[in-house]
Amino acid sequence: MPTDSPLLVCEHLRYRYLERFPALDDVSLTVHRGERLALLGANGCGKSTLLKVLDGLIFPEGGSYTAFGHPVTEDSLEDEQMSRGFRSRVGFVFQNSDAQVFSPTVREEIAFGPLQLGLSREETADRVADVLGMLDIAELADRAPFQLSGGQKKKVAIGTVLVMSPEVLLFDEPTAALDPRTQHWLIELVEELGRAGKTIVHATHDLDVVERIADRAVVFGEDHRIAAEGSPADVLDDEDLLARVNLIHPGVSPRGVTRC
C-alpha cells in the first residue's frame, strides 16, 4: 500500500532532446513508497523521458531530482557507492525489449545485473533459476534472445530487472505489442508486485489497464507539462481532459464505448 514517505522527488524538471526538441517542461512529481503510479499521455509527450530521468540515465537541464533522499545527478552517480545503491534499488523495463536483451543467452542475460552489482556466481545462479521458474521460461534459458518471440523477449526483459529485486520498478509501455494472454500475465504480475510493497511507475497510453495497475495517475499534455493528476477512476471519467491531451478521440469514452 502507498505510504506518505516520498521516495522519488522531481521539482521543475526541464529537458530537451538535442537542446532543441522539448520533452519535459516544468514537471514536478513525487512518488511515494509502495505507490503504483501511471504516467498517462499521448505519444511524444515526455513519459519515457521522465522514466529515463527517474532511472538516472539522462539528466535534466533544469530542476532537481532526488531519490531515497539523495540528489541524483551525473556527478553523484560517478560515486561508486551511490551508483551501486541506486542501480540496485531502481529497475527499468524498457519499451524496446531488443535493447534490454543483449547477452548471448537468456541465462546470461538475467545474470547480468546481479553480477554487475557484485553478487557471487553461486547466489546469482540460484536467483536466475528462481526467476526463470517464476516467469515460466526455464526452457528458454540457453536460447539466444534473437530467437525469441516478442512476448518471450518481454518476459526475459522483466526477468532481468526482477532478479535484482529492486525497490522501485519503472515500466515503459509495458503492455505495448503484447498478445492478450501475455498482457494478462503482466498485469497480474504487477498486481502481485504491488501487494509485495514494490513502488511501481508505468508510462502508458493503454487506458484499459490503468485502473488495475495504478493507484494514482498523472496525465501529461502534449505541451510536455503535467495536465492533471488523481485516482485512475477520476482521470478516466474526465473525458474532456483525456480528449484535450489526445488520449481519446472526442466522442469515444476511455472504456471504448462510443457516446451518443
Binding site: 529515463k52 532511472d55 540515465l57 561508486e80 551508483s83 551501486r84 542501480r87 540496485s88 531502481v90 529497475g91 527499468f92 524498457f94 524496446n96 531488443d98 535493447a99 534490454q100 543483449f102 547477452s103 548471448p104 543467452t105 541465462r107 546470461e108 545474470a111 547480468f112 545485473g113 553480477l115 554487475q116 552489482l117 556466481r121 546469482t124 545462479a125 536466475v128 539466444a144 534472445p145 534473437f146 530467437q147 532481468t160 530487472v161 535484482m164
Partner: protein, 320 residues
C-alpha cells in the same frame, strides 16, 4: 488495369479526412487474370535469401557446438592455445607430406567431434581456390619462379615459358598450409559456442573492451539483419511488377544504408542505457566459470607431442 473512371478533382477538405482517391474502388489487378513475363530474382530478393541463410548457418553451428564430441569436451582456453601451437607447426612445416598428415589429423579430429565431414571439407575448400589459388597462381609461372617448365604456355626468344615444377611445388605447399590452418580454425569455431570462445579469449588476457565490442557486434548483427530484411520486404511489397535495377534501386540501397546507420546508432544508445540501468560500469562479468578437467590435460599433451613429432618428421623429410 486501373479503373477508367475520371480522377476526382482535388477539393479543400478538413484536416485528417481521407482523400477521395483513397476511397475510390480501383481494381489493383487485371480482371482478365492474364500474367506477364517472368524475370530472374533481383539482388534485393537474393539479399533476403542470404539473410535467412546466415541465420540458418548460425543455428546449425550452435547445434554442432553442442554435440557430444571430443573437442566439445575440451576447455576452450586449452583449444585456443593448442590451435596457436598447431598453427605455428603448420607455418614452420616445409614438406607437403607433413602438411598432408596434419590435414588428415584435422579430419580425424572433426570425425571424433561428430562434425559432418562433407560439410567440414566443403567449408574449408570452398574459399581456398578463390583466395589462395588466385594469389599463388603467378608464382607457378616460369617468369616468377624459374625452373623446369612442365607445361609450356608460350615461347620467349626460343625458350619455353609456362608452369614450372618448382612453382607448382611451392603453390601446393602454400595451399596445403592454408588448408591445414583454416581447418584448425574451423574446428575451433565449430566445436565451441561463441560465448565460451569469447570468455576463453578474455581468460587468456585479450582486453575486455575488445571482447565486449566483438560480442555485442555479433549479437546485434542479427537484429540489424532483420531490419535490412524488413526494409527490403517492405519495398518489395510496394513495388508492382518486376523490380528494376535502375537509378531508383540504387537510391533505395543508399537510403537503406543511411536508415540502418540511424537505427544502429539509436539502438546502441538504448543498449548502453539498458546496461547502465543494471549497474554496468565497464567491467563485464560472466556467469560460467571454466574449470580444467583430465581430458584437457590429455588433449594438450597429445597436441604438444603431435606438433613436436610433425616438426621432427618435417626436418627429416626436408634433409632427405
Amino acid at each position: 488495369m486501373v479503373s477508367a473512371e475520371p480522377r476526382p478533382t482535388a477539393e479543400p477538405r478538413p484536416t485528417g479526412a481521407a482523400p477521395a482517391w483513397l476511397l475510390a474502388k480501383d481494381v489493383a489487378m487485371c480482371p482478365c487474370g492474364c500474367i506477364g513475363t517472368r524475370r530472374r530474382g533481383s539482388y534485393l530478393a537474393k539479399t533476403v535469401q542470404a539473410g535467412s541463410t546466415v541465420l540458418g548457418q548460425v543455428l546449425f553451428g550452435d547445434e554442432m557446438a553442442g554435440r557430444a564430441g571430443l573437442l566439445q569436451r575440451v576447455e576452450p582456453r586449452v583449444k585456443i592455445i593448442s590451435l596457436v601451437w598447431l598453427l605455428v607447426v603448420a607455418g614452420l612445416a616445409h614438406s607437403v607430406g607433413t602438411l598432408a598428415v596434419m590435414y588428415l589429423a584435422a579430419l580425424g579430429l572433426a570425425a571424433a567431434s561428430a562434425l559432418p565431414l562433407g560439410f567440414f571439407v566443403k567449408r574449408v575448400w570452398l574459399f581456398i581456390p578463390i583466395f589462395t589459388g588466385i594469389m599463388v597462381l603467378p608464382a607457378t609461372l616460369s617468369v616468377v619462379t624459374p625452373g623446369e617448365v612442365v607445361w609450356t604456355l608460350w615461347h620467349w626468344h626460343g625458350a619455353p615459358e609456362g608452369f614450372t615444377a618448382q612453382g607448382l611445388h611451392g603453390a601446393v605447399r602454400v595451399i596445403s598450409r592454408v588448408a591445414v590452418s583454416i581447418s584448425l580454425v574451423v574446428l575451433l569455431t565449430l566445436t565451441t559456442p561463441w560465448v565460451r570462445l569469447l570468455a576463453a579469449l578474455r581468460g587468456l588476457g585479450v582486453p575486455k573492451i575488445f571482447i565486449l565490442i566483438v560480442g555485442m557486434a555479433y549479437r546485434y548483427i542479427f537484429l540489424l539483419l532483420k531490419s535490412v530484411t524488413d526494409m527490403i520486404q517492405a519495398r518489395q511489397a510496394r513495388t508492382p511488377g518486376t523490380p528494376q535495377h535502375d537509378r531508383g534501386a540504387r537510391a533505395f540501397v543508399g537510403a537503406s544504408v543511411g536508415a540502418l546507420l540511424g537505427k544502429s546508432a539509436q539502438l546502441s544508445e538504448e543498449v548502453h542505457q539498458a546496461m547502465t540501468a543494471r549497474g554496468f560500469t565497464g567491467d563485464a562479468k560472466t556467469l560460467r566459470r571454466s574449470r580444467f578437467h583430465a581430458v584437457d590435460a590429455w588433449y594438450a599433451a597429445a597436441v604438444l607431442v603431435f606438433g613436436v613429432l610433425m616438426l621432427i618428421g618435417d626436418h627429416v623429410l626436408a634433409h632427405r
